[in-house]
Symmetry: C2
Subunit: 223 residues, 2 copies
């Protein structure tokens, strides 16, 4: 990894055109070809960047990073005015990041105990396929009625519409024409609840810690 702190200007042409006026920045050249241009503020996002694979060329005060993106070319051109620091570090292998608490974990917990959705449900299968994509959970209720469950960390309007799309497809099959929809999420946007009600979809607020039995159940039911 090479780290350059320099006064420089940057020009990007590719999916769009962007110009970065001359100022002091941090330039990061990773060993996999990644190039990042960071300012001393603005958090998280680089001002400009290029993801691998890249070809890097350095001539005089110019560093040009290229990448083939379809028929066109992505190009990042850095004009160095003054180098304040230029160091390289061997960093070796990077160990992977382990995450827990994403949507998949929610889905797993609900699959393990679908009765957490506030009614007697039996899981038929996870990732139930439809011709436009898989529904997160397909269940049957105590009267053997079909129930399609969409799981989200945060449920907005799109989540409701996604489930509606799936339900349309599922109900095409006469055997499942009465399939109900349930939307489960850790948080609901008010508009999502409103839209879900108008579409006959039940909303259930869930909590991963509760589902795992790590905390007191405090189930909230909408509608």
């Amino acid at each position: 990894m090479r780290l350059i702190v320099a006064r420089c200007g940057v020009r990007y042409t590719g999916r769009l055109n962007a110009v970065l006026p001359e100022s002091t920045r941090l330039l990061i050249f990773k060993s996999d070809g990644s190039v990042l241009v960071h300012a001393d503020a603005g958090g998280y996002k680089p001002l400009n960047w290029m993801t691998p694979p890249t070809a890097i060329e350095e001539v005089d005060d110019r560093i040009v990073v290229r990448k083939h993106a379809g028929k066109a070319e992505d190009r990042l051109e850095i004009r160095i005015v003054e180098v304040l620091s230029d160091v390289s570090h061997e960093m070796g292998e990077a160990a992977g990041l382990e995450k827990d608490g994403v949507e998949r974990d929610l889905q797993e917990a609900l699959a393990a105990g679908p009765e957490s959705l506030g009614e007697e449900l039996r899981l038929v299968r996870r990732e139930w396929p439809t011709d436009i994509g898989p529904v997160d959970l397909m269940c049957r209720d105590d009267a053997d009625g079909w129930v399609a469950v969409e799981v989200k960390r945060i449920a907005g309007i799109e989540a409701v519409e996604q489930l509606v799309r799936y339900l349309e497809r599922i109900r095409l099959d006469p055997a499942r024409s009465d399939c109900r929809g349930v939307l489960a999420a850790q948080r609901f946007r008010p508009q999502a609840v409103t839209l879900a009600e108008s579409r006959g979809i039940r909303c259930v607020e869930v909590d991963l810690a509760v589902l795992r039995g790590e905390r007191e159940p405090e189930l909230t039911l909408f509608s």
Copy 2:
């Protein structure tokens, strides 16, 4: 800006829990409170991070970054094993990034020449307000019929549904009950075209360079 290259392990707790095993990383502490943990590969995205405002505490071999996120707390804990480098740089004010070619530019170009949408249209106004948000362009055709235009760089299913939501609202007004919908984008996902057809929405592929007269027109019309 402070740059530390160090062998370290990182733990994040907040919206989710994440553990980063011990390895050599680049730690960036920006003057606005941003903290980034980068590996020597993986481009663009930091492995872990915290956006401002943050409170940073450094005790012995531990750096703890805190942030209040609602009722809970976001916490990034860095355990330093070995420091390979630790430097700080004054970088001063950062000049802004100027972009061209984003959706807004596409919208501007279409507003300047709505006939590029393949029929005689007159612009009534940009960002036409509805009670659920603004439609990009509102136009009238040669028969004075209303036409709502949604502009996207890439149009997927969501784009169609967004326009459908707007049309529902617009048509509530008897004066615009016959309002048509047009979806304009540089690229269309196949499913978006299919869904748009079934909803009576016309899709028009546009190109910013062509709209600006910088390249040959090569208009593609779906449906």
